[in-house]
């Protein structure tokens, strides 16, 4: 594991405690618990249908999901009480698995609105146009994003790779504390994967944390996690370090499923 001086005295950022959630009466999360501290990267892995995307949706506040019990504390506040936009303004960011297209709204305009809504929430004045454009230029470099993309309609006609880079670019612009990446690697070729990962690595610091949801170990070669958790049937059934991801890659999920069944 790479050496990070800030790994001592880390601040608690996210505490998920015995979380249960369902959609349309179907139970998806069945008592999930997880602690994330500032400066950490946690990878969440697991077979299809384990509840990975549900976890990101519940944390971001999608109303289709009903939380039936448990609690989520974010920076000491009750996350589940907050509206999705307030969660975002408080620094929670979700990089979407399928970024949404908004015709006629440029990425620049969209981000200007988002940045200024957050500033308003924090009691700050809107950003000066020149400062904003300067910030855009800086942050675009993080993911080597082409300037022309920012004046085009948000995500409309973007390739898969462009959409994901745009997600990381937005992340850079909004400077979140907790970044949830929902299968960001899906549909990316190796070059795009490297660009996206480089962006994330530039963004990480002692004050923010990442929750990286993925099927595959390959992303974790680039974004090296401190912890790897295996999600199965809506619970974390195994945790380890990055070696666990390699083991999963080599052996698949069946042995974990068997372990769980044997213990239950």
């Amino acid at each position: 594991m790479d050496y990070r001086p800030w790994s001592i005295n880390k601040k608690k950022m996210l505490s998920i405690n015995d979380l249960k959630a369902e959609i349309e009466g179907k139970k998806i999360l069945n008592g999930l618990s997880l602690e994330v501290k500032a400066g950490e990267i946690h990878a969440i892995m697991g077979p299809n249908g384990a509840g990975k995307s549900t976890l990101s949706s519940v944390l971001a506040g999608r109303t289709e999901y009903e939380v039936t019990s448990g609690s989520v504390s974010y920076e000491g506040k009750n996350l589940l009480d907050m509206s999705p936009e307030d969660r975002a303004r408080e620094g929670l960011f979700l990089a979407f698995q399928y970024p949404i297209e908004i015709p006629g709204v440029s990425t620049t305009n969209f981000l200007k609105t988002a940045v200024n809504e957050k500033r308003k929430y924090l009691g700050l004045d809107p950003m000066e146009a020149t400062d904003f454009l300067k910030m855009m230029r800086e942050k675009m470099d993080y993911v080597e994003m082409d300037k022309s993309l920012t004046s085009r309609s948000l995500n409309e006609g973007f390739s898969g790779g462009e959409k994901k880079r745009n997600e990381v670019f937005q992340m850079a612009m909004l400077e979140p504390k907790l970044c949830i990446m929902d299968e960001t690697d899906s549909g990316l070729d190796i070059d795009a994967l490297r660009l996206v990962s480089n962006g994330v690595n530039k963004l990480r610091n002692k004050d923010n944390a990442f929750l990286v949801i993925t099927h595959y170990q390959r992303l974790l070669d680039y974004i090296v996690p401190d912890f790897v958790h295996v999600l199965y049937k809506g619970r974390i059934v195994k945790s380890g370090d990055k070696e666990l991801a390699k083991e999963l890659e080599a052996k698949g999920y069946d042995w974990i499923k068997q372990e769980v069944e044997a213990n239950s």
């Binding site: 936009e85 307030d86 908004i102 006629g104 988002a114």
Partner: protein, 483 residues
């Protein structure tokens, strides 16, 4: 922000009443209620009109009596009792049109409140304003500066005295009183409106605009606007409108005529924000307007841009008659309906000259229980060689109780014509809103952003000074439509 605070804000936003719903308490002189030849004579004499004008009005009135209300529209219209309307209402004080000092301060305050400053110091720079209050024009700014360039911009009642030859020549030339039920009514009882003449070779140095305000109760507003752009001239004109909140429906039946001579260009923009009625459909303005432009000369161009957010019912088709060879007609429209509002709007492009071109971009947004129809006619006459039209007609639905309808008519009588029609219907998705939410953008702002994106092509056509206002207006009219 706490949860309860947020609920409060959403409550406020949803129940937020129409911002311009106040009324001005001012002594008015009104005609007796109802319609008759005497009323027509009363209005004409109030304006001290020449005899020929009165004759024209009376002919129109007698013609109107023979007509029946149209019934082909895509909505039910409760019968209007034309005897329950007051056809003339004017602030009592005698106003000298040349001096703002003479204008009742109450009126200046009213327009100030609407964001239209008429006083010298606070005028919008680069925009000349004609302010029409109920049946009369109360002030026109920058008139003298414009006159130096030869541009005439004044109330039509004033033009009747100052430039009778122009008015006589052109009034009713594009929209004759025989055109339809409401144009006949308007010709009989029209009270005021704006008159614009741009002489040959002049590019009007500023935006011209008229602000229409209905104030008096039970009163209809029947204004008439006439814009003439002579050879090689250019003018950009904008109208805005608001009215107080009242439980009764009020009728606004205007006529607008545009005439573009050779190589002239007229750009006519509307930001219509009449009182739309309450959320249950009580009250609101009936906006039944006939707007038509004639591209008389070769290479002339008329461009209509409209942002329609108000009115209980909007019923109008700003159209272009493309007579001159190589002339161009454009229609850019955004119509937003919320709650119980109805819009049946679109355009007619009549290609007569050779190589004439027209372009139609219509964006309809329906929310609440409203209904929004696009109705358009593209007609290529027999002798219109090489005419071209492109129509794009997009509808957006918000929620699942609103309706979007399209009625495109195409008549082609010349086989060299190229006519294209594109249409789409979309729904504001939960996914789009959630995506915005996740970036810290609240739902109301998100709807505003998405709708503005949807209408961008049309909003881009508006003069800079008004584009921002129009964007805000779109967001405001849809407040409370989601969630």
């Amino acid at each position: 922000m706490s949860d309860t605070q947020e609920v409060d804000i959403i409550d406020q936003v949803v129940s937020q009443e129409y911002k311009y719903g106040f009324s001005t308490d001012i002594e008015m002189e009104t005609a007796p209620m109802g319609l008759s030849e005497d009323i027509v004579r009363f209005i004409s004499s109030k304006k001290n009109e020449p005899e020929w004008m009165l004759e024209w009005r009376l002919k129109a009135y007698r013609y109107w009596l023979t007509l029946e209300e149209p019934n082909w529209q895509n909505f039910d219209l409760k019968p209007i009792n034309y005897q329950d309307i007051i056809y003339y209402a004017a602030p009592k004080e005698k106003i000298k049109l040349d001096s703002l000092d003479q204008v009742d301060p109450e009126l200046l305050k009213t327009f100030e409140k609407l964001g239209i400053s008429l006083s010298e110091q606070k005028r919008l720079s680069g925009v000349a304003v004609d302010a029409v209050f109920d049946s009369v024009s109360i002030a026109t700014t920058f008139k003298d500066q414009l006159y130096e360039k030869g541009v005439i911009f004044c109330a039509i009642s004033e033009a009747l005295h100052e430039h009778p030859e122009l008015v006589k020549k052109y009034i009713g030339s594009v929209v004759p009183y025989t055109d339809n039920y409401f144009s006949a009514l308007n010709a009989a009882v029209f009270s005021d409106g704006s008159f614009v003449y741009i002489p040959k070779g002049v590019r009007c140095p500023m935006e011209l605009s008229t602000y229409f305000r209905i104030n008096a109760e039970n009163t209809g507003q029947f204004e008439r606007t006439l814009i003439i752009a002579d050879d090689n001239s250019y003018v950009s004109y904008l109208e805005g409108c608001t009215a107080p909140m009242r439980d009764e429906n009020q009728l606004h039946a205007a006529v607008v005529e545009l005439i573009a001579m050779e190589k002239a260009e007229i750009k006519y923009s509307t930001v219509q924000n009449w009182y739309p009625g309450d959320k249950d459909g009580k009250g609101g303005i009936y906006n039944f307007v006939t707007k038509r432009g004639s591209c008389e000369g070769a290479h002339s161009k008329i461009s209509w841009t409209q942002v329609e957010t108000g009115s209980a019912i909007t019923w109008k088709y700003p159209s272009c008659i493309l007579k001159g060879d190589y002339s161009t007609g454009e229609f850019f429209s955004v119509a937003v309906t919320n709650n119980r509002q109805i819009a049946d709007t679109g355009t007619k492009m009549i290609h007569i000259g050779k190589h004439t071109k027209s372009r139609i971009v219509s964006k309809g947004i329906s929310a609440g229980k409203s209904h929004n129809s696009y109705r358009g006619l593209v007609k290529i006459n027999k002798r219109a060689e090489n005419a071209r039209n492109h129509t794009q007609c997009d509808s957006m639905l918000i929620g699942d109780r609103s309706g979007a309808h399209t009625f495109p008519y195409i008549e082609i009588n010349n086989k060299t014509a190229q006519v294209e029609h594109e249409a789409s219907t979309s729904k504001i998705g939960e996914d789009q809103i959630f995506y915005c939410n996740q970036r810290g953008i609240g739902t109301e702002e998100a709807v505003g952003l998405i709708v503005n994106g949807f209408c961008k092509e049309v909003l881009n056509q508006l003069p800079m000074e008004f584009a921002v206002e129009a964007q805000k207006l779109l967001a405001v009219s849809l407040e409370g439509s989601v969630g």
